[in-house]
Subunit: 194 residues, 2 copies
């Protein structure tokens, strides 16, 4: 294997171990020592791939961003008017999506104090709002969204419901199982005639 | 001053300093050394009031819980049918409420891995849902909430909107100023005839 591929593959392996630690134990479970131990390598090896904790946490965050984006893009490619699918792609309805939210919440604590991380979170939320807005406009153009519905207000409500449902479901999985999450989303969509 | 009062007052002072550190810098800004430095005392003094980091973080969390509860109770005491007031009492519409959310988000990362903290978060979210549900039932009994509205669904949507709007507003204060937060809440209430 060429050396660069080897480097990238090893970095990806270390990232996945760091992802597991954050998913299991939150932000404070992410330490260079912990990653090294779980990977069965020395801390020097971890430091070879990640200059510092900021880089390591960012790699974990990017891992979740990328797989979340893949799910979202698959929905949009399949049906740009599928607002239910677009939102369900990022609700904690299965293990992968639940793990993503555990990563976002671990990252949020850091984003409160890091301008760079805060800006990433802001951009990601803004991107989500824009995608929902665009999806509703496709529905409006198709004549499927009643003319009485204010698209911008509806997009803002749906956009806010996503982290809201996720926060409820992550900390109260019994009270907010997938059926409850879907019911909340669908009852909101029903209110705007969808 | 009797010794016990002195102890409580000093503990409250140290707690407020810890609160400021979390509000400014998130969970990772909370260290015994940092609190001691900001308070101008030795780490031994901080350790006298708080046995460990768990106790210190819990004190910060409780500080926000108590003042949030005071705001909520004031609304309920004034008008048990004031669903807008009940929800606005916990949206990040001013500095105090914004600071509370910075504390919740810092705490959430810890609540992911601590069963005790996770349970506190779950109970708090459950209490909020119950209060909104009760408020909507008062409105229903008063004939102000249309009979076609499913109270449980409406309460779940409103309950989820709270952390959702907060997450948007904390990381994007320009995109989600108080006027936007209120608009999202009111447009949701308008959908159910309130």
């Amino acid at each position: 294997m060429p050396k660069v591929v080897d480097h990238d593959a090893r970095r990806a392996e270390v990232t996945e171990i760091a992802v597991s630690l954050v998913v299991e134990g939150g932000r404070s479970a992410l330490t260079v020592r912990g990653v090294a131990e779980a990977a069965g390598v020395s801390t020097t090896v971890v430091s070879h791939y990640f200059a510092d904790m900021v880089e390591l946490l960012h790699a974990v965050y990017s891992f979740a961003v990328q797989r979340s984006r893949r799910r979202v893009q698959a929905v949009i490619a399949s049906d740009p008017a599928d607002v239910t699918g677009l939102i369900e792609a990022v609700l904690p309805l299965d293990d992968e999506r639940r793990d993503d939210w555990r990563i976002w919440f671990a990252f949020w604590s850091e984003a409160l104090s890091s301008p760079a991380f805060g800006e990433e979170q802001r951009q990601r939320a803004k991107g989500q709002l824009d995608r929902i807005d665009r999806c509703l406009r496709v529905l409006r153009a198709d004549g499927r969204l009643p003319a009485t519905v204010n698209v911008s207000d509806a997009a803002h409500r749906l956009s806010a419901l996503i982290p809201g449902i996720a926060a409820e479901a992550i900390f109260d999985p019994d009270g907010w199982p997938p059926s409850r999450q879907r019911r909340v989303l669908r009852s909101e969509l029903a209110l705007i005639g969808l």
